[in-house]
Amino acid sequence: MFNSLAGRALVPVGIAVTGFVVVCFLLLYSVIKNVVNRDTVGHATNLADTILRSTRYAMLKSDRETLTTIIQNIGQQHGVEHIRVFNKEGIVQISTKTEELGRQVDKKAEGCIGCHAGAIPSSTLGSMERARTFTNGEGREVLAVMAPIYNGPECFNAPCHFHPPSQKVLGTLDIGLSRQMLLKSLAAIRNQMIVFTVMILVLTVGGVTALLRRSVFLPLLKLRRVAEQVEAGEHPEAHPSHFPRELDRIAQSLYNLSQKNHNAGEDPAAIEKGTVPKDL
């Protein structure tokens, strides 16, 4: 394979084109995946903020029944896996899953460590740092976002219950969204890109192969046959034609050579003199 002209011409081109297209595909897919993930995290953060704003009044009034009803209703929406509200100590106060109520989460767990890594917990984090992905107990991929419930003047001045103004964060809302739709979309994008990549590869490598075969390899094969004929002392019956310009000159020379040999064979005097007829 590597000794033939076809192998020498096509192997490096095939490797280079295939490899480069595959690298482009992988990089493009990685970029698309990041963009889609970032958008999904943004969407989840907005949803968490919406829930916090919707429940703000109930929290101020310490209306636990209304708060629980709102959160349970949102939790029933398609694609929402869980909603939890933790207090400052990390104890689940409200949850769409009743069995979680009263449980305390580990502050070193994923999702909590972002703020609780140091001795003094951080009160602000970027939206991407607040997000985490995991597989839940039902085996579903989940994207969860933590949204801190900040203290405010209307909160620490409220007559019903009191938080000191120095306490920046009162608790945390944790919302988990199913990643099924996201993964399905990414899989669809990936499959389409694989199909396009394969089509580009087939067109490029196939096109180069077909053109080289038609323009170079087949004429060379024909030329080789003519050369073998001349070498064997046979005289080609007709002038070989339909060669590309560069190969046509070689074919012409071979034909002339065979013609000279043929005529010299018919004229023994020419052989003795070592000359050939001039009309060739």
Partner: protein
């Protein structure tokens, strides 16, 4: 007399300088050369040394490929021997964002392939495989410190496989051509006692 070679690995050029022949075509001393040896013997010895060197060089691409696979395995395991990205970032400052690293990787892959194909076309002898392993390791490290290696491992791996495959093929085909020429020269030398005439 000195044996020299142009960079394309064509037939060696012999020049008379009044000294005994003590160098191979890459200007390295030939081990075990004695001044009392006859000229054809010296030529033959030098050709044999050159054949050995080309045989060794033809495997260079595969060695580079093996080293890259080793680096990739380490990268796949998130460089367990290195300090955590946060520690390094605290000392050296933040790395470039992953999309910038990806753009640089794309341009690097394109340039490396073009350069390798150009060298193949020109028939240049260039032993550049191992430096590509170095560049690719840098890409792995940059992604690692930017905490984006999980998403970008396969693009770097694909780029490495492509570049090193083209480079290995280039070095191997160069050595194969040069070796066949050296064998022809050796055979001619043994038959006639002199080097064959220089080709164009």
């Amino acid at each position: 007399m000195q044996l020299e070679n142009d960079s394309r690995g064509s037939a060696p050029v012999w020049r008379t300088s009044g000294h005994a022949m003590t160098q191979t075509i890459d200007h390295r001393p030939v081990p075990g050369l004695a001044p009392q040896q006859s000229q054809p013997e010296l030529l033959e010895k030098q050709l044999r040394t050159d054949i050995k060197r080309l045989n060794r060089l033809s495997n260079r691409g595969l060695w580079a490929f093996s080293l890259f696979i080793l680096v990739s395995l380490t990268a796949w395991r998130d460089f367990p021997m290195l300090p955590l990205p946060d520690t390094v970032v605290a000392v050296l400052g933040p790395p470039p964002p992953p999309y910038v690293i990806s753009i640089v990787l794309l341009f690097y892959t394109f340039s490396a392939i073009i350069l390798s194909l150009s060298r193949m076309t020109a028939g240049l002898e260039h032993k550049s495989s191992f430096c590509h392993v170095g560049y690719l390791t840098c890409f792995f490290l940059f992604y690692h410190f930017a905490k984006a290696l999980d998403d970008n491992f396969w693009p770097v791996f694909g780029a490495g496989v492509t570049i090193l495959a083209v480079e290995s093929y280039r070095i191997w085909s160069f050595c194969r051509d040069a070796l066949s020429r050296r064998h022809e020269q050796l055979e001619f030398l043994q038959r006639t006692g002199r080097m064959p005439p220089e080709e164009d």
